[in-house]
Amino acid sequence: MDDGELLGEFVEESREHLGDIEMQLLQIEALGDGINDDLVNTVFRAIHSIKGAAGFLGLTQINDVAHRLENVLGKIREHQFVPDPYNVDVMLKAADRLRKLIKSVATSNETDNSELIAKLDALLADDRAFSPKQAASTSSKVVDDIAACHSTTGEASLEAAAETGKRGRAKSPRKPRKQNLHAGTDKTPSPKGASKRNPTKMTDELAIADEDPTRRVAEKLDEIASGLDQERDAAVTPAAVDSTIKAPASSSQSNTAQPSAEATIRVGVRVLDRLMNLAGELVLSRNQLLRALGEHSDRSTSLDAIVGGLDQVTTELQETIMQTRMQPIGNVFNKFPRVIRDLSSTLGKQISLQMEGNEVEVDKTIVEAIADPLTHLIRNSCDHGIETPSVRQASGKPECGNVLLRAFHQAGKVMIEITDDGAGMDPHRLRQKAVEKGLYSQAAADQLSDRDAVNLIFAPGFSTAAVVTAVSGRGVGMDVVRTNIEKLGGSVEVTSVHGKGSKISITLPLTLAIVPSMIVAVGDRRYALPQANIAELVRTDGVEKRIERVSSSEVLRLRGSLIPLVRLRQILGMPSDDVKDECSESQLVVVEAGRSRFALAVDRVLDSEEIVVKPLGRHLNNLPLLAGATILGDGRVAMILDAAGIVNCVKLSSDADRDDAEQSVAASVESKDDIQRLVLMSDGPKDHFAVSMDIVSRIERVPVTEIDQVGDRRVLKYRGGTLQLLAISDVVPVVSTDETEFTYVIVFRVYGHEVGLIAPHLNDIRDCSIINSMETCRQPGVAGITVIDGRSTRLLDLYGLCEIARPEWFDNKKSTDTDAQPTRILVCEDSAFFRNFLVRMLVEQGFKVTDGENGEEGWSLLTEHPTEFDIVVTDVEMPELDGLGLTRRIRADGRFNAMPIIALTSLADSDSVQRGLEAGVTEYQVKMNKPELLAGIERLTKKGRK
């Protein structure tokens, strides 16, 4: 070992020592005066061995810094010093400095660290000044301790140390070299000298020192021991194999305090990379062999067995090598507590970080590459997301903000989520900003959904904070973050609830080197499509799954949702095949890329193969549709398709519910408000109906024979009275009504009358999305038409139905509304369907209605015309500002003290009612209960007018 190697070893080892120190120091800080001895010892030992080795190598600056840090740690270890945020800060800085010095070890001696050293020294001095009581109370005990220590343990360990030194020397076959080393390391006392000199020196020091002497003794002993350690290590030569093995093992044990039973060795990353490449080649060769053999049908069974064995071994080899490259994501996560801690103090915020899934393993290259983007995102969450304590308090949140960093495996990928409970993002402001920055036209920005709008933060040159801070800079980083993550084959997106917080989700592949893929063909060209992007394979059979045209684009109908269709031939610019009819049978691959989903039409789907990604030359680096190339089993190169690139290329909107072509079920689930619990029923095979469950009192099943026809009405003899019945066919045109033995009666109340709706078949009661209902199909008694389970279903308006069937119930109701001054109503509802329904219904009743899409809009309408509304009818769950938020604002404004507010909801459980009332809601009502709403409006506005 020459000096260079020794230095290299030192750097390597010191890095290991410093690797966990941040976490440990933070833990020490968190524990405060409840000092964990093991923990402190671990840190102490780490710093101690750095100090020792640095001294030995003549790295004076590193030695100095480490020495001072060690002093402080020593004092903590002796419980003479309570770690607090301030002094841990200095310690962290010292650890940082050490890392920096070790990074550029060659020039470390030329650096000036006196300021830091002074700070560290000041810590000890301060401590003495600030806690004289402690020192006084312990002093007598300490004196005893020193005596004991000095007389017994001290001497004993010195002797032991000297003994080790002798042995070390005896083993060393190269005395001259060792002396040579000594010459360069005058800082480290030679063991002999130390054992002779130090006891006396120590006694002297003890006599004058009124600072903790025990620590001093311990420190000196350790110093000596470390000197011996160095001696021993230096004395070891390659020839002394056994001791070489022992030395690193024992040192690593003592330093990390984690008994590592498993034998580990250090292997250069280059070697692993090479191994990885070779394994990749082997996989290719195996694939080629399998293919070649596949062409010979007459091969012998013995050959089969051999090939099978090779196949298995190759797979295992590949997996094992992959494992060597796997690292826990915690390696990256561990640095974040420090980042958060520093940020909290810089920003004057209180932030606590929780981490989950530290153990999740990811390919080394990914772990490395994700560190910077993650740091940026976390900083961003702290800076832009979490509010200052006062703001948080004002909005009813705990002062301390939370950031949750979570990693987990999902469907063969690694997901990392950063969730904060901060201010969230305001889609309106982002849209506005996008226009201001000239990224979008006003019209285009308005078209953006809220989800797309919050993801604007990843657009180049976007900054969301009103004040640009040093922490997250100008937001230029966010697009770089996205680019970097996408380079890794991952994706990133953000979801945010304004006022409640944001969640950034990162999806990453487990590894970059080998990608399980599907080989698809167009004409005679073959392409690889990563399986991670493939949701399913579909063959159009012309019946259930059909390719349809919506204006100029093609869509695939798949299980009730519409997926945009992309023809690979077309986007690759290949001449279209004349032989094949455009809409004829094609093999379709449903591809997912981030949020987008599309069906890719290819000629054939060939095979799945584990492909090894090969880099493309620089001329082909930035092709939009391709993610790289691979070599297939037959030795030919195939291009790897980039699903995200295809999405960009055909400009698919990632927002399903804005896109006419798409009506993905998953997307519509997002909008909670459009989910209604529906009773699904049918009169006959062609007539499907749905009724909102909220207004149904109960459902009964009765034999048809119990229904009596009285004149043109039907009634059910029922609990001693009669229940008036309505058949849908009385009001709404129906193709045919099945004759059944039993029928269902859906009972509901309207203006105090109990009515039963006859439904021959009751199909289901469940939550359905009615987002795609077409209001144009509205007719008396029908609120709209929607598609449920692929069937056109009419959504019944039970009140409208009754109004037609029993007009006499409504006569007197209408007349009361013909006041001279119509009641003026402000309606806030985000769902277009309910909004239009409400507005239409209220206008029909003679009210003057103004509507807003959300609370924010409602609020501005209200504040612009403060005297023009008599009552507010608002939905509860809305984006931007929800109904309760709106209510609170209204109540907080003196002008609207008496404003009646009716909150409408589909979830009227007692909890939410309670919350509503607390917020200041006057009445809480279930959606689509027309009579109740009308009665409520009447009641409240009269009260209001008085």
């Binding site: 080649e281 290719l284 060209r525 690759l572 610019g573 290949m574 090969k614 880099p615 493309l616 030359g617 620089r618 001329h619 082909l620 930035n622 092709l623 939009p624 549709l625 391709l626 190339a629 691979t630 070599i631 030795g635 030919r636 190169v637 195939a638 291009m639």
Partner: protein, 162 residues
């Protein structure tokens, strides 16, 4: 970096003898300094790259590496041959990257001295004079010596333009 390499080539030329690999593209005789040539292969299975510059013929599998193949026909604006079976792939190593050049026929390896090379004529017809290093006159034939670095740079430009 490319300037450095240019100077290097210049120095070699001045030193005296150099070896050039000569080949034809269409009816033009071309040559490239053998120092840049790694190997000459039969025309291999080329995979087309959708979206790439037209100057790029495609990619091939060169013992496990994916290597870009340029089509000089396109670069020199010569209509490409229909039958590619006799073509050769001249694999160059330029600045650490391997690049193939699809040529119609590899003719010879010549050893020439610097004095035998003339400066490129100012009116070199079909070819873009940017790529031309010098000209070697050999009996009745004129061999145009290409500068591979400039050839590559031109392709780069084309890619970014596309």
């Amino acid at each position: 970096m490319s300037i450095q390499s240019n100077q290097l080539v210049g120095a070699e030329l001045a030193k005296g003898d150099m070896q050039i690999v000569t080949f034809t593209v269409g009816d033009i005789s071309l040559g490239i300094d053998i120092a840049f040539v790694q190997e000459i292969n039969r025309h291999m299975d080329v995979t087309r790259v959708p979206g790439a510059s037209p100057m790029i013929h495609g990619v091939v599998n060169l013992r496990g590496d994916v290597v870009t193949v340029l089509d000089p026909h396109r670069i020199f604006n010569i209509s490409p041959k229909k039958d590619l079976s006799l073509c050769r792939n001249l694999v160059l190593r330029i600045e650490g990257e391997r690049i193939g050049v699809l040529v119609d026929h590899v003719s010879d390896i010549l050893t020439v001295s610097a004095s035998q090379l003339s400066r490129r004529p100012s009116n070199i017809g079909a070819m873009d004079s940017r790529f031309i290093e010098s000209v070697y006159v050999r009996s009745e034939e004129i061999v145009v010596i290409l500068n591979p670095l400039k050839l590559l740079a031109a392709t780069d430009l084309c890619v970014t333009a596309a």
